[in-house]
């Protein structure tokens, strides 16, 4: 087991280097604009551009640039400096991490609990009105993109432009440390918007999984033992949750991708909004930092889920 974990971590690091190289190359071979030109201001002289390129190291061969970058990332956890604002990428991401963590963790909890809860109720009351309504809603939410759902939510419920002025609207985010209540209310809509699609997928998966498990022989045994139906259901849920947990790691990517959109729509000063703004500014260094951070989270989530799986299912053993 320990050997397995060590191997997984080493593979994770190797994967990160590959992702690093891929993004590095991608952003430099696509004609997104020369950062030196962007920095030089209006009507720059070629001499000025060359000077900026020299200072930023953009005139060195690509492989040397990559090597320098990789060294500073791996050895110093230093992602370089923004071409746009001159601030360190690590600092830029660091000060926005709290907002993104607030958004994604809250949404993930809502996603998991909402999805599983609705799925379980739907499975146990199969074909009821409740089940049909829940699965119909789920289908709508799966189909609705976050940016659309976010704008609709703002249009309907935000306290400034909303039809019903219920929740604080875009740009109302405050850190939890300054005002927990305002932090909470400002995140209610973003949480729901970010969680909606995933929760809907989970509700349908959980429903299917539980319906299948409730037809298993061991559920019949549980009933034949004379267990209360509540306990029988608990055994069913316990067994049906395993395949769903495996999907959690895959969903981390969807969650972080969704965070970019939701932070932009709701104007939450998080890493997602930073990534979006950096892309519009051709600010490679920052974009690369955010991509690496996201990749790191996805890889870690995958390892954690794989290890957790061995504890959830005694039949799974890694060697």
């Amino acid at each position: 087991m320990t050997g397995y974990i060590i191997r997984r971590i080493l593979w994770g690091v190797a994967l990160l280097v590959i992702i690093c190289a891929a993004t590095f190359v991608l952003f430099r071979i696509f004609p997104t604009g020369n950062p030196a030109v962007l920095r030089a201001g209006r009507d720059p002289q070629p001499k000025e551009i060359a000077e900026i390129e020299r200072v930023l190291g953009l005139n060195k061969p690509l492989i040397v640039q990559f090597w320098d970058y990789l060294k500073s990332v791996l050895l110093h956890f230093d992602f370089g400096y923004s071409y746009y604002s001159d601030e360190s990428v690590r600092g830029l991401i660091g000060e926005r991490l709290e907002a993104t963590a607030s958004l994604t963790i809250g949404a993930a909890v809502l996603w998991f609990i909402g999805g599983l809860g609705v799925g379980i109720v739907s499975a146990l009351r199969r074909h009821s009105l409740l089940d049909r309504a829940a699965m119909g809603t789920a289908l709508v939410l799966i189909s609705a993109p976050e940016f659309w759902l976010g704008l609709i939510a703002l249009f309907l419920f935000s306290s400034d432009i909303g039809r019903w002025k219920v929740f604080p609207g875009a740009g109302s985010y405050v850190p939890i440390t300054s005002d927990p209540w305002k932090w909470f209310t400002s995140l209610i809509m973003p949480w729901f918007v970010l969680a909606a699609g995933g929760a809907a997928v989970y509700a349908r998966l959980m429903r299917g999984s539980l319906i299948e498990v409730m037809g298993e022989d061991y559920i019949r045994t549980a009933r034949a033992k004379g267990l209360e139906e509540r306990r029988v259901t608990r055994q069913g849920v316990r067994a049906s949750i395993n395949p769903i947990v495996t999907l959690l790691a895959l969903e981390t990517g969807a969650l972080l991708g969704g965070a970019v959109v939701v932070e932009t729509v709701f104007n939450i000063p998080g890493v997602g909004l930073l990534a979006y703004q950096s892309i519009t500014h051709s600010d490679f260094a920052v974009v690369q930092g955010t991509v690496l951070l996201a990749a790191m989270f996805i890889i870690v989530a995958n390892i954690v889920v794989d290890i957790a799986y061995a504890y959830l299912d005694p039949r799974v053993r890694y060697s």
Binding site: E216, Y218, A224, K225, E228, A239
Partner: protein
């Protein structure tokens, strides 16, 4: 045959499942009794309704939307009329059941000991620790070595025979008066089958419970059963003491079952014979005698007249639902037993000719 009130009395039990393709007539008016401490064998091919009848006894077909009629009285209580909560108190407590595939019948994610302890605590007001030690005791009772360690293992760490032993241990958790064993040995190796049957016999003599053993294998019930009911397409076609079923079987279907068992002592000429065709659909059953399309001795009118269980002349306790005359059945069986094929047996001739040569 004890004269006392039977432990379980099933009367005119009918179970139907409405489905998209039509109504499935799984059990079609069956009647049988099980006396305390005795063993009833219910024999039939898959799809003959034998499992559904037993699941219905425990109320486990209720939630599948089955239409159930008839009476199932257990110690004088009508189980079909009992509310779910009272039936639950009987399930796993006074009537326990074990199933065909012990691996899929045990929860894969819980330790075997915990699954046993749970069965104890479902009906007894005991502490966790007491239930655990009872679980270990039960595993020891069914012959699992080192039960304390085994209780800590998961079902996938048990062998097939061990799993079925564990299932039996679970069924015995609350000293049931009746154990229903649904194909308990079908999924097991032949050598393990014998061990499990011996175990059940030993436990029956030690604990005094009644057993209903459901199987497609007459060899299994030959060992264990006191009485045997043969089921075909949802009906009981023959019922008698085990001794009478093997010595003087009356129904052509029973003959087919008996002739498909290899014997070491029978005449060599008697080749193993399969029953032609396959069990009928329970949605659109053959008219008249359900067995007539597969019966070598069927007459045209057998497709019209529905046979009922009737006593066999001069054989108390032996009943058969067959439209052939009693003398004709006796003649056919004596010829079959002598090693003739169904076609040879049918050839006209005085009874007994060519037999017992």
């Amino acid at each position: 045959m004890s004269a006392a009130e039977p432990l379980l009395r099933v009367e005119e039990l009918r179970v139907e499942f409405p489905g998209e393709d039509g109504v499935v007539h799984a059990v079609d008016g069956i009647t049988y009794q099980v006396h305390a401490g005795r063993t009833l064998g219910i024999v039939g091919e898959s799809g003959s309704g034998k499992t559904v009848a037993s699941l219905t006894t425990l109320g486990l077909t209720r939630r599948q939307g089955a239409n159930i009629s008839g009476r199932i009285s257990f110690e004088g209580q009508d189980l079909l009329a009992l509310p779910e909560e009272q039936l639950r108190a009987i399930r796993g407590n006074e009537i326990a059941m074990i199933f065909q595939d012990p691996l899929s019948s045990l929860h894969p994610l819980y330790r075997v000991g915990a699954q046993l302890a749970e069965a104890v605590r479902a009906h007894r007001d005991t502490s966790r620790a007491q239930a655990r030690s009872r679980a270990v005791e039960l595993l020891g009772l069914v012959g699992i070595p080192d039960p304390a360690r085994r209780a800590q293992e998961y079902p996938h760490e048990f062998s097939g025979g061990m799993r079925q032993r564990a299932m039996i241990a679970m069924a015995l958790a609350n000293d049931p008066k009746l154990l229903i064993a649904d194909e308990p040995t079908t999924a097991l190796d032949v050598t393990v089958q014998a061990q499990i049957l011996a175990l059940m016999e030993r436990l029956q003599s030690e604990l005094g419970m009644a057993i209903v053993i459901i199987t497609h294998d007459l060899g299994v019930v030959a060992e264990m059963a006191d009485e045997i009911a043969v089921m075909y397409a949802g009906r009981i076609v023959e019922m008698a003491s085990a001794e009478a079923i093997f010595a003087r079987p009356q129904h052509p279907y029973t003959w087919g079952l008996l002739r498909s068992i290899p014997t070491l002592t029978g005449p060599r000429a008697a080749e193993l014979e399969a029953i032609p065709g396959s069990p009928p659909s329970l949605i659109r059953r053959p008219s008249g005698c359900h067995f007539h399309p597969r019966c070598a001795y069927a007459q045209p009118e057998h497709a019209v007249i529905t046979p009922v269980l009737e006593p066999v002349p001069q054989e108390p306790g032996h009943q058969v639902a067959c439209l052939l005359a009693a003398e004709e059945r006796a003649r056919l069986w004596s010829r079959l037993r002598a090693g003739n094929s169904a076609a040879q047996a049918q050839q006209a001739g005085p009874a007994g000719t060519g037999a017992r040569g």
